[in-house]
Symmetry: C2
Subunit: 450 residues, 2 copies
């Protein structure tokens, strides 16, 4: 890395690719982004390759490995969420803009800005010291936002080449600006689309209304049946495998400088919702949910159209905690919905992507090294040990296929607007990420030595 401004400028180049993995019409942008990234990794001195998959490509880069030092795999993703509703962006989602020291662009926080901080940390060490303190494998995929459908097969196929001792991922958040955060747990996810189909065409609600079941009314009943009045998920068996929260966790989280007040300020909601016997943080980090991500059907235009819609749909995701298994949850929800669904309509259930929840020990040798690196970058500030509500399903795949634990060292902020309009990443956090990468690789190199 020549200079910090150059690093920021390169990040902006990276952000200009509209690498939206869920949109088939953007496959060319995704692929061009992978190509650009691999060329950059070659330029900074790593051996890099673009590996095709049946979906979007995986970029892998490495330094020359030597015996006697640990192998660290740094994982990230170059794909991003869709940018819609695009009219709510203050600046174009794929034209990065810095306002008041904050970089605005789709992917700036999730995950291009964070993985690129690692890359610039590595570039700096390679340029100034010619050598990294560890054996490095950099793995940057293009399908994280759609559930990494081809990464497991890729890991299986390249298991030998990807052998490593520890994995580091920066795709999470700091609990608050300036508070170094080590995340030791993630929620899993299970996705499902449901479609309720009634008449073979939209019907005049006067000519048929009252005698024919309205698919939108049925959908409302199905969705409403997912929650009990106390905020719990009302699907039989949903909580069966849930690990109760430990007392030390509940105490640690109560001390974290982030809670209902910050959530209300960040989101603009007038009041909290959810399970009444848990705090907001506990609900997000340690409790499972059922969410409706989108609904549609019937007349959505201006004015009124007096129809009974032929078909309506809802997109659902369930956030899971240890030891809930996505396939068990999807089956329980399907059973529940089919029980609730009345005659007179057809219910179609399409399972989507899924990922298991994750929890690891923040006090392992590598966990302590990560805490030490955080201390060096944020001297004098107490480290927050947290879980996160989001899902990085690949972390479980790493554990299963490579047998390796993952350190989650996030640098985004809670109001980074990941997945929403005006996604952003403070330029200072990008800088901190560059420093953290250097400290982290040094601290991890000592674990092997000790």
């Amino acid at each position: 890395m020549a200079s910090f401004p150059d690093a920021v400028s390169l990040l902006c180049d990276f952000l200009r690719f509209a690498s939206v993995s869920t949109d088939p019409s953007r496959a060319g942008d995704v692929s061009a982004c992978a190509q650009w990234l691999a060329e950059h990794l070659t330029e900074i001195g790593l051996a890099s390759e673009v590996h095709p998959t049946p979906g979007h490509p995986v970029v892998v880069a490495r330094n020359p490995h030597k015996a006697g030092r640990p192998t660290v795999l740094i994982y990230g993703h170059y794909d991003v969420q869709p940018e819609d509703p695009v009219e709510l962006w203050q600046s174009a989602p794929f034209e990065p803009e810095i306002r008041n020291g904050v970089l605005f662009a789709r992917g700036s926080a999730d995950n291009k800005g964070q993985i690129f901080a690692h890359i610039q940390g590595i570039a700096h060490v390679l340029k100034t010291k010619r050598e990294l303190p560890v054996n490095l494998i950099l793995l940057v995929e293009g399908e994280e936002e759609i559930g990494s459908p081809h990464l497991e097969a890729f890991l299986m196929e390249h298991r030998e080449a990807l052998r490593c001792d520890i994995i580091a991922v920066s795709d999470t958040s700091m609990v608050a600006a300036g508070v170094p955060t080590l995340t030791y747990g993630l929620r899993g996810i299970a996705a499902m689309e449901i479609r309720v189909k009634g008449p073979s065409m939209d019907l005049h609600s006067g000519i048929y209304g009252g005698a024919v079941r309205n698919p939108a009314v049925v959908l409302a009943h199905l969705l409403a049946s997912l929650h009990a009045p106390d905020g719990c998920v009302a699907v039989k068996g949903f909580y069966e495998a849930v690990q109760p929260l430990q007392n030390w966790e509940r105490e640690a989280w109560a001390a974290v400088p982030f809670g209902e007040k910050q959530i209300e300020a960040n989101t603009g909601v007038p009041a909290m919702g959810g399970e009444v016997e848990f705090t907001a943080l506990e609900r997000i980090w340690g409790r499972p949910t059922a969410e409706v991500n989108g609904i549609g059907g019937g007349f959505q235009g201006e004015g009124t159209k007096t129809i009974i819609p032929k078909e309506v749909f809802a997109k659902l995701t369930f956030r899971l905690v240890p030891d809930q298994a996505p396939e068990v949850i999807l089956a329980a929800v399907e059973r529940h919905l089919r029980e609730v669904c009345p005659a007179g309509v057809t219910l179609e259930i399409l399972p989507g992507h899924s990922g298991e929840p994750y929890v690891t020990d923040p006090h392992s040798a590598y966990g302590k090294a990560a805490q030490q690196a955080l201390h060096r970058v944020f001297p004098g500030v107490q480290i927050a040990l947290t879980r996160e509500g989001g899902s990085i399903p690949i972390v479980n795949t790493f554990q299963r296929v490579l047998g390796v634990e993952t350190l989650l060292l996030g640098l985004a902020l809670p109001d980074c607007r990941a997945h929403a309009p005006n996604e952003n990443f403070p330029v200072a956090n990008f800088g901190a990420g560059i420093l953290l990468n250097q400290a982290l690789l040094e601290e991890l190199s000592k674990v092997q030595e000790s």
Copy 2:
């Protein structure tokens, strides 16, 4: 009228106007349609005028009125429903096409085909006999599909010029092909849009899910709360003013050659829904409903987007029966929704158009004349005395402002797909409508004489 083929060809010209009254971008098409119609009415020998309103214009035409004969007002509308979803049409909605004797186009049944049958009946009599047997007022408006917001003021302003003895409207259906039908009741309507607003932006469902209320989940609870498990509307006071069905009506309707089997065949639904203690026809003709016409919000694209949507909406209409009052029902529903809605979201309720239910006596002198006209066009077939589930709010306005009852003589068929893709009207029914107009005006002229 020169010939029946010419009449069909003129109807096709009428149908080519995309006179969608709810769509502000189509105001030009609506106005061009009114202009074309007025010119045609002048051509056939009526004195016609296009009256501007604050919305779309009203077309009025008349013959020279003479003392000693009844004045008949024939009402119809030249505006149509939106054509979407346009991809489900077999032929373009505004390019009329005749397949197997059936004319397909938006508005073919509702209402251009039916009002134009009256016009061609009048044209034929004017051409062959030079004079109509009654004083005629033809009133064709352009805002029926949006609840006729400016017609009441128009009627008030022109009350003297519109004085009449009886009104005839063909904007309803025959209960089955070949069964002459006199409709003596209509349901009313009350429309409402509800919007549930939560966070000030779409949120990442991992970062916030569980602690923030999801507007789509809240909407589902609101909509689900509108119905009880037995199919009744669960809003307090909803049924308070409902007139119970008379025994003679329930018996007459049970004899009508139309019911669950035909509804299932026409609509493709696998089973009926609705209030369990009423037959399908009773639910449609004599019972009120709460319908969801459309829902939307959050991510509706391809794939998955793991968000908590900032806002979702539903479009609702309530079909009403005597003596329910739209404003009372809208207030009861609003009270109900605000009671059910939890904290953590904002509920916006936007009332839409409304119209009162209607019922008249099919055995009055004019009612008997209408039955006689039906006998002449459909000899030897028993007349079905029915109500309809649709709403023609203007019928109540006629009663209130002009003090006159309305005869409903529909010629559409139950599978005419009004308001849906592939709306259609059999060419034979258009022909029957031309004959019915002639028989009707003759029979009505005798009422005064007797």
